[in-house]
Amino acid sequence: MSLKQIVPSRKAKPQSRSRKNLGWLLLVPASAVLALVIGWPLINLIILSFQEFGRAQVFGADIEFIGFENYSNILTDDGFWQVLNRSLVFAAVVVVSTMVVGTLVALLMNFVPKRIKVLVQIGLLVAWAMPQLTAVIVWGWMFNTEYGVFNYLLSQIPGVDFYGHSWLSNPISFFGVAALIITWQSVPFVALTIYAGLTQIPKEMIEAAWLDGASGWQRFKDLTFPLLRPIFTIVIILQIIWDLRVFTQIYALQGLGGLREETNTLGVYIYLTSLGSGEFGLGGAIAVVMVVLMSAVSAFYIKRTLEDMDN
């Protein structure tokens, strides 16, 4: 049975011209707000990225336009490329782990009895509602070198001695801890969203597929996933954006341990350049690069979805 037959067909309703105009009119207020709160700061950011703008300029020194100097500075800086690569790899790992775990939890919730489902949902909501900084501090204590519960538990295994092991001083295990914290806090959003989508799939379809002898994996691959594809798309985009510009968790973890220079990600790097070092022009240029990067990611998915709609 192919997908086309399952999904109810849509009928396009002919719209009158005045209705169409009304549609454009209704878009005006939202567009105006977006232009004001997003367009204006963005224009300022772009202007800033072409200026020599440090603390002296904040206090009234003359502002000089320096063309692409900020851009050539960052693009020829090895440090920037290291940070960019690190951020991309880290975001990829976290997005994949979040999506896999989140989807599995959502599928699980679809099968377990109601009481357990409510318990799982409460657990997820609590994890989600926890302020990021609080989460990092709690996890940080669990991985603490001297008092951490992980070191204690691991050391209970015969022949294993993790006392005094520092999880954050090695960049790889630093990012392991960071990925764990971020995944832990992102899974609830993914799981609840996908679960909500799952509840909208008519039971009859699943039943029909089951009767036709489709395995669990086949039912997911050929039925559930295509139906929920728009949800997956938007959740993945959101995760990519959030994970690429991750700030709080990395910045706070750096305060708990680890080597700052080897663990900076894009968000932290922009913060340190702009507010830490007072080089607002340079930080602005890095931010513009990040905007372009993330817009490209978003545009790719928007294009894909539009193509899907046309089919």
């Binding site: 969203t193 954006i241 507010l275």
Partner: protein, 454 residues
Amino acid sequence: MMKPVSLLGQGALATLMRKEQKMRKSAVVAMFGVAALTLVGCTTAEDTTSGSTTDNDTSSDSATSEDAVTGDIRVWINGGDTPDSAREYLIETFEAENPGSTLTIEQQDWGGLVEKLTTSMSGSDSPDLVEIGNTWAPGFTSAEAFMDLSPYFDELGGDDLLPGFVEVGTFDGTFYAPPYYAGSRLVFYSKSDFAEAGVEVPTTLTEYVEVAETLNSELGTSGVYFPGKDWYNALPYIWENGGEVAVNDGGTWDAQLSSASSIAGLELVKRAMDSSNAAKDGDEAESWVAYCEGGHSMLSAPSWAAGLLVPREDAPCERSADDLGVFALPGADGGAAQIFAGGSNLAIPQASQNPELALSAMKIMLSPEYQTIMGNNGLVPALTSLGDTLGEGEIPEAVSAAAANSKLTPASPNWADVEASGVLQDMFVKIASGEDIADAAATADAAIEDILNG
């Protein structure tokens, strides 16, 4: 940043979930929202640039005018360091000396204050008098954020002001920011541990490290609690061995951590760190908690931490009050070592609307009466002649001894950037973890020169 985004995502997704037919359209709409929000997240870094017009016509000369000026001034005091009695004294004295004017104290949090000061002092709503962390001073003085106070140097205390703080508050020969108070680092120790290991209070820095090593090998405790990121406490080792972090060589900063003298100091740091059971990449925050746990025989900490190293009502402590001893970190040749001087400076923002009144308030805050209140509350007064206001006893004596020989980080406008980059923490963590000292120092030197000269 995460919250508004997730709320929108949630709202859009709630729509998505209603019917499969509507799913696709809604998804696209939400995606435009996402694309837009991508942009929001990245523009916050430049918030501070708005409204950067500065009022430069508040020339310092006008402050000498005898005309009675009245106004309402706002004073920024940071954290709870300044005692209430001093605040009351400031308000009462100011309003008595300046009839018709009022003074309001607005307490600020230390965290994120550099950013807040940058924003507020560049706008039209600037506070009139601010307290700043001493190592931040060059970052602001070099940007001409403060009023020139050179003509009032003598009135504000002159040569009696803490010299290290005057130096950091001066840029290019112009005096901008007098000291407010200083903190001081002391070595606290357990008398019973010393007796058990059979060691005496050390009189030189090398002896101090040897005592730490003995305590560690005899008792298994940390000789001195020394987490890897604690660069404040590591600086004296470099200075006492004749090394420097960086020196200004004809306008160019030359980082000195890999000089022979500095390396000798860093080797001593390594020995002290090896005697410690603290995390090799831990920091010094809450070090009193570790001390109270009982596994550490010595601890180098700010003087005000003394009250936290004994059992308190709300916090138990394995160490008794009788057991707590204290001394100033000894120098290479005896006497007190040159320690890192924490503390604050005061300054009047260029954008202040009432510079004359702000100056009047500043004079009160640097008066012997006001500074005596600070001294009585355990803060090292800005006036060196008031050292005895700290009182009598072991701790005040150690504080005075240590403060008399305090030293600051390089007075470069970019020094705050060095601190923000974490390069010093990174270097000491590497040293604590057993990496090659010369390599770690050379890497740090390159990074520091890059920032200071950049």
